[in-house]
Amino acid sequence: MRPPLGGRIFALVAAGLLLPALAACGSGDDKDGGGSGEAGDATLVIYTGRNEKLVKPILDKLEKAVGADVEVRYGDSAELAAQILEEGDRTKAGLFFSQDAGALGALSREGMLAKLPQASLDKVDKAYRSGEGDWVGLSGRVRVIAYNPDRVGADEVPDSVHDVVKPEWKGKVGFAPTNASFQAFVTGMRVLEGDEAARKWLEDLKANGAKTYANNLATLDAVEAGEVSLGLVNHYYWYERVAEKGEDGVDAKLHFLPGKDPGALINVAGVGVLAANEDQSATARKAVDYLLSKDAQTYFADKTKEYPLAAGVTSSVEGLPPFESLQSPDIDLGKLESLQETLAMLQDVGLV
């Protein structure tokens, strides 16, 4: 005696369990066909922390350029780095394409990355690649101050982040304390000027009534709306907004800080080849070279409005200051990994 509902549940359970099992068998067969082949033909598996919407088109082109099958796994850079560390030598990844230098540094520290050919490394300035020669930056983003010209004249915008804590900007500055780029900038300030100076700056910023926002976009929106006069953001959000709405549709303007100010830090997205999967490494190195090619670098420049880092490629984004003109602080990006202390500091000060 089984009432109808019990029977239905049973059928549902059975069907639910069988379907994915069958599907898995199907997909398993495909994999076996593609996976076994000679070394150069192995499918290249890319783990990337960059957004799919952003990089899928260029990774599709990369597949053609390297002449092998490419599978892409999207996720969060830090979580993917943790996943690769957990997978160890059995990682499926041949290439790790990270949103920031920190996750690459973590894999490099654990010896998970293979040395890159010098020719590939040399395409990028030393400041934007690993000191160990096992990862290389692809595109750069620079910290800037966004301002609302209705509230503040172009010549009044501070030339240093140290000025935004002054009384005349009380309650007029917006920033995103939980944003990774803001935190990297604070870490940079700690490295450049010492922990005490950075702590003092954060305390002053808070005491000055600076307003906190969820992320860079929300900060830019607040500047746009005149809620605040100044916003500490990454440069490309503004260029994306302009590309979307046209320059007339965007009120806010950007100010690039001169004089190697810590507020003009440049951080990078980069790529490294996993040491564990030798059958993929030839393809992976080809992929690195493709990502440093004029084709791919121009894509990053146009699509993400970031700065292309390979020598000889310049961004054609309208209104973007030339990369050489940026006066960013001299800093070893590898040192930005002391983020933990920065977070503790932000907490102590009460900003996050």
């Binding site: 639910g16 369990l17 898995a24 919407k53 796994r73 943790a82 560390l85 957990e86 969820a214 983020l339």
Partner: protein, 556 residues
């Protein structure tokens, strides 16, 4: 295991409180059950037909073996935590945990948990009573709509509130958004319990001079306690494990410290050490919840069939009741959906990729259904044992099922990466592993529902079946499961909804190239394309109505 030698009748010894023929209506079932608690160490010493009939029997193997499998499954993350936390020696792990900041964050986590649980119980019980027991117009609509908030990802709720009112950031905003996405955890089991209650007791109480409020407080409420407490426990563990809402609301909790360890220092050892604290907290909460249960029976034992409850006429309270239900669902469902509509209207990234949306929706439905099916199957033996047995086994098994439930999804996901890469490599990043991950993550959701459902089924019927020579698995198949089926199915529906919106484990364990609605939503919002994200979020919320709608159709 031999069938119980206990005689099948004498139902009034343990179940007196719920017996409608008892001369006195129950006032507090606990008063009768509590003094016996944990007094009987071994089943053999229990005189046949006396106290705790059935309760002290060791579970039959047909239940025990699959329950142990389920428990081992649920304990996988703990094994991983032990390995990682002690990687650099116990001294290092202790130093991480003993930091004064840890205690501070723990306090903040518990404060938030207490606030959310209290609000959820009030919302859940009041809405359940109104929709099940009163003549509220559109009861059917309300009961289907009540599941939907669960499908709203906590970060979507938080984002919606924050964009409407930036000042909400902090404790208030975090509590608000978490309450509004988790109160169905209380509402649904309480509603199921209300449906199963025999009205005879309330009528007896009324006939003995209790007013309606007094009857509710002293007769109805105590019978709802197991369901409400089980739901409250799920809410508590959900709040402890949440990162999405608290990070957007900038209210630091314990999960913040764990995520910082992964994201800022790329270090898994401190994260694991901190996660162990969450596990200890979970075990304490589960033990505390078990202590509040008492040992009262909640099944009707009288002859014949319970007649349907006459709905309470609301009279002049009707507008107020409607307003209350409407207001709660408006802020919990209509508001996030409205925000999504707003995203669609103002954003320029909207692309009506209907094919992509349909494909993703089907994939999500498939994997969530499989996840719910496996979870329900694994939860069944654990839930039955938890309801019917009270020895050490029962407690341990239930504890095991819950132990990892307060862990952030990323920690559970990494633990499955760890085990799959080592011991099940062919399954790694294949669908079956993802389905297993859902079972590990959501086992307690289904266990709670199963336990509450089995508690309402009269154990005397099982005893009768056993006395007639039915084997344990026959009793299970012919009596227990069919009687508990509506509650178990409701639990499966709940599990289905939470599987659908799961993100961190799905990201790490899905087959490369596969997308669910939750991962798509994550991708689109990550790119700032809120208009393009809106259809996926809306689909997630609306599809959650499917299982509760289907279940509602079978309801008498």
């Amino acid at each position: 295991m031999k069938p119980s030698p206990n005689p099948p009748h004498a139902p009034t010894d343990r179940h007196g409180p719920t017996d409608p023929h008892a001369p006195h209506a129950p006032t507090d079932p606990r008063a009768q059950g509590a003094p016996r608690a944990r007094a009987t160490p071994r089943p053999a010493e229990t005189p046949a037909g006396f106290a705790g009939r059935g309760a002290e029997r060791r579970p039959p193997l047909v239940l025990l073996v699959p329950a142990c499998v389920a428990a081992l499954f649920a304990l996988l993350p703990l094994g991983y935590l032990a390995v990682r936390a002690l990687e650099r020696g116990p001294a290092f792990a202790w130093a991480v945990v003993a930091d004064e900041r840890t205690l501070d964050l723990l306090g903040r986590s518990l404060g938030l948990t207490a606030a959310v649980v209290a609000t959820c119980v009030v919302l859940g019980v009041s809405l359940a009573w109104l929709t099940v027991r009163t003549a509220l117009p559109g009861a059917r609509f309300w009961s289907v709509a009540a599941t939907l908030p669960l499908a709203v990802p906590s970060y979507v709720a938080a984002f919606a509130w924050l964009s409407a009112e930036p000042d909400l950031a902090g404790f208030g905003g975090a509590a608000l958004s978490l309450t509004l996405v988790s109160f169905p955890y209380v509402l649904l089991p309480v509603a199921a319990a209300l449906r199963g209650i025999d009205p005879a007791q309330e009528e007896a109480a009324r006939s003995l001079g209790h007013g309606p409020l007094r009857t509710f407080l002293r007769v109805t409420l105590p019978q709802l306690r197991p369901a409400a407490a089980g739901g409250a426990l799920l809410v508590a563990l959900y709040v402890l494990s949440d990162f999405g809402a608290v990070s957007l609301m900038r209210y630091d909790t314990f999960t913040w410290a764990i995520h910082t360890s992964y994201r800022a220092s790329f270090d898994r050892t401190p994260a694991a050490a901190l996660s162990v604290v969450l596990v200890l907290m979970t075990v304490t909460l589960v033990a505390a919840e078990a202590r509040t249960r008492g040992r009262a029976g909640h099944a009707r034992t009288g002859g014949g069939t319970a007649r349907p409850t006459a709905p309470v006429a609301l009279g002049r309270w009707k507008p107020l009741a409607l307003l209350w239900c409407g207001a709660v669902l408006a802020v919990a469902v209509a508001f996030p959906l409205g925000t999504l509509g707003y995203w669609l209207a103002v954003g320029s990234s909207a692309t009506w990729d209907l094919g992509g949306l349909t494909e993703t929706a089907w994939a999500t439905l498939g994997v969530a259904a499989a996840g719910a099916a496996l979870t329900t199957l694994l939860a069944l033996p654990v839930g039955v044992i938890a309801a019917r047995h009270q020895g050490r086994w029962a407690r341990l098994l239930e504890q095991a099922a819950y132990a990892g439930h307060a862990l952030p999804g990323i920690t559970v996901a990494l633990s499955l990466v760890f085990f799959a890469v080592r011991y099940a490599y062919p399954l790694y990043q294949e669908l079956p592993l993802l389905v297993c991950a859902y079972a590990v993550l959501f086992l307690p959701v289904a266990v709670a529902a199963t336990r509450a459902a089995v508690l309402q089924a009269p154990p005397v019927l099982e005893d009768v079946a056993r006395s007639l020579g039915r084997r344990p698995w026959q009793v299970l198949r012919e009596i227990t499961v069919p009687l508990a089926a509506p509650g178990v199915a409701a639990g499966a529906a709940l599990t289905f909804v939470v599987c659908m919106k799961e993100l961190p484990a799905t990201l790490l364990l899905r087959p490369t190239g596969m997308d669910t609605l939750a991962t798509r939503l994550w991708t689109e919002t990550g790119a700032g394309s809120f208009a393009a994200a809106a259809p996926y979020a809306a689909a997630l919320i609306l599809l959650a109505a499917v299982p509760s709608y289907l279940l509602g159709r079978h309801r008498p």
